[in-house]
Amino acid sequence: MIALAALALAPLGGLARLAAHSDAEIWAHLAAYVLPPALANTLLLLGGVAAVTAVVGVGTAWIVTAFEFPGRAALIWLLPLPLALPTYIVAYVYVDILDTLGPVQRALRATLGWSAEFLNVRSLGGAVLVMGFVLYPYVYLGARAMFQTQSAATVEMARIFGAGKWRLARDITLPLARPAIAAGLTLALLETLNDIGASEYLGVHTLTLSIFTTWLNRGSLPGAAQIACLMLVAVAALLAVERLGWRRRAFTGLDQQARTPRAVLSRRGRWLATAACLVPVTFGFLVPAGFLASEVVARGLLVGFDSALVRHAATTVALAAVATTLTIAFGFGAAVAVRLVRDPLAAACVATAGLGYALPGTVLALGLLSPVIAVDEAVNALVERIAGRDVGLVIMGSGAAIVVAYVIRFLSIAIGFGQAGFARISHDLDDAARTTGARAAGMIWTIHLPLARPALWGAALLVFVDCLKELPATLLLRPLNVETLSTYVYQFATRGSFEEGALAALLIVAVGIPAVMRMVRYADDALHVAVTSPPEPQR
């Protein structure tokens, strides 16, 4: 566990090294002119995204778990899909569609004579909506996994005592799912904090952007690293407060009985449910993906297929698969360990290990450079002594550095989902298993993992798709001649013609879709097994 924390601390150490030069002059300047507006913009953006993702994520998760309605089977796996689209690409798409010269305003002008300038996406409101509709799946996935495993008995009991569906949602379902919702919301907000491309393009000057301008324009890497450190401290403090909030309460509401049957709605209610789920799917996925598809056709990207894309896709999937496997193993391992050990030091280590997500990707990559290369130097020296051969920088040169960055960055997803999943399993179960003589390993295998499987698959899906589209760390840490789909898309986007990368962007989605479908199904099957056949504790 300490090793895991050390791994996550490596880039922070590198960052601290960069920050360890005083630059008093820059701070006077930053405090006077840069940070106040950047902080205000950042808080407004975070507040807005929190509101959108919470309402959309929790709302849709509740609807698909609680009700039966037309199209539900398809919507279950359509709802997470916006995840597979890079946020900045969606920002570009919406500017193209909604700007003054775009098709929507043109149509409004032609038919109704409106000049619909309020549709201006290049604004704070635009950024909130774009990011909200791309990032709500983080909340949706967490909330759905929790709603699904909610005890039928609890729900039935509440119903018997006359709770209607709204009261049920407000008093039972939501509070019990709070850890998962909080975890999902945290991820969505940290993703927002990590964004540079969309906010710069939409003209929202955030703290993250000010880290970059301080580094590249104000010429102060220490100043930039210091802002990043402060941001990290703020995030860590908020996370700690949130954890404290739910750790004192019990959320164990899971038992071995059958799931609550989904309620049947009135005719109108059914179609309302369908519509409510279709809105985020449309804005977060169908519109941007449709736009990309039309660009693929219009630009003949399929006809003039760039064969290198196959190689890039294979590279992308391989890196993401390896990183996901490691991240889930480490993350769930850590979450289980914390549960079994119940030791504050272990908990602190795990909380530290989750900090990687709170750093913008480029900052993480910058911080990783020196520790990774220090290991590389050591390996090289060792090989030179033993074999008398200079192998150069093995980790940097092989792409292993990218995997390390992914694991550090996305560990908190696995830990968060793991802990939220395990929090639902009563400690009574552990105690009962222990009295029957079960060992820790057997208990994890037969009780914890099966019961936490929906959370596990949810986390795996998120990590995998996040790895597929990760850009900044990949960009800076990849070996010569290696591209992933997202770095490939990016080279068109930096030149201002992201449409040329439309096919590669869709390939990210295409790789993501089977993963989403498969994991949604696995999660459901796992749940089915878990709730219908009580695990046998080892004797």
């Binding site: 393009y201 590249l216 324009n217 391989a318 910058l366 920088l393 792409g399 800076l476 010569l480 080279q491």
Partner: protein
């Protein structure tokens, strides 16, 4: 998952073999801020001409930091940049070495190279005005004029912290000093039609949409939209490019340039590449494919670029502009340009 693990394993092994091969002759390793796709044709032509294989990594920031961290084992031979700022950053980071080439000194004007020979420009781009064809009648303009009240609420531009604007503002400081430049920048800020956002293409888009009369952008974006991007041709056609000048001076130009890495493992090949880039063939390619101004004299411009009229670069040494980048960034903060 098993299959992907196997793929990953193969990948790791092959890249290990590849990284071991880098040290061998017949290769050169290029770290570039310029997108791979854009320079690929140039590099392929180089390989065709010399048989030297080119390995590439591109990124948008942090390459100096990477080379610096990689230290003596860095595979980097050559760093290509799209902006004067990054050239200066590379020198400051201590990752460059002087390039000694009589050919480069002969071909590239002193204004466009480092006095200490740590970097050389290979192509130029100018920061110009996209003016509305309908609403702007004048055919000449000065940078000074952009701050005059006659343009109140009529100018669109991307973030003042973007490297291209940063270099333009640094050039103004080089000309007029910080105090007068602050006044100028406040004037320009007052003339903006909207909060800075988007990229250089949006400057043309917004002029075409009637949001403003003047957009500020680089020379090649307009040409790309006009010649190559059918969906954006209308934006270019709604505007005309005016090459602004400083009063009594010329047009602000920025450089894409080249640095020789301090620990370049393939130095001889790196020198061949650098010299090839300013050769006639490569310079023609820069002009025709990338719509840039060749740094070498006597190379024909792309017809669309030539259509802007003759370019007279301002005579200030580019190295001087680089020194004022930080001051320019601070001014942008101070006048709240992006707020």
């Amino acid at each position: 998952m098993k299959v992907s693990l196997r793929i990953a394993g193969t990948l790791v092994v092959t890249s290990l073999m590849a990284s071991a091969a880098f040290a061998q002759s017949g290769e050169v390793n290029v770290y570039t801020y310029r997108e791979t796709k854009l320079i690929q044709p140039l590099l392929e032509a180089f390989t065709g001409a010399t048989g030297i294989k080119v390995n590439v990594i591109s990124a948008s920031s942090g390459l100096e930091q990477r080379i610096k961290s990689e230290g003596t084992h860095s595979p980097a031979d050559v760093l290509l940049t799209v902006d004067i700022g990054r050239l200066e950053d590379a020198v400051q980071a201590g990752i460059s070495q002087p390039i000694s080439s009589p050919l480069l000194d002969q071909v590239i004007a002193p204004q466009f190279r480092d006095p200490e020979a740590h970097w050389y420009g290979v192509s130029l781009r100018a920061r110009v005005v996209y003016a509305s064809k309908d609403r702007v009648t004048q055919s000449a303009i000065t940078y000074e004029e952009l701050a005059e009240p006659k343009w109140r609420g009529k100018i669109c531009v991307r973030s003042g912290q973007h490297i291209y604007n940063n270099a333009l503002f640094a050039a103004v400081i080089t000309k007029y000093g910080v105090d007068k430049s602050e006044e100028w920048l406040r004037g320009l800020k007052a003339n903006l039609a909207q909060k800075p956002s988007g990229g250089d293409r949006e400057a043309a888009r917004d002029v075409a949409a009637g949001k403003c009369d003047l957009g500020i952008g680089n020379t090649y974006y307009w040409a790309l939209m006009h010649d190559r991007e059918a969906d954006k041709k209308a934006w270019a056609e709604a505007t005309k490019v005016i090459l602004p000048t400083f009063v009594g001076g010329g047009t602000h130009v920025n450089l894409s340039g080249v640095v020789l890495a301090k620990h370049a493992p393939n130095k001889a090949n790196a020198m061949k590449l650098i010299e090839w880039l300013v050769g006639e063939k490569a310079q023609h390619m820069y002009a025709d494919m990338n719509y840039e101004y060749p740094v070498r004299a006597g190379i024909a411009l792309n017809p669309t670029i030539a259509g802007y009229g003759p370019l007279t670069p301002d005579p200030m040494p580019i190295a001087k502009i680089a020194q004022n980048r930080k001051a320019a960034a601070n001014l942008v903060d101070k006048v709240g340009f992006d707020n």
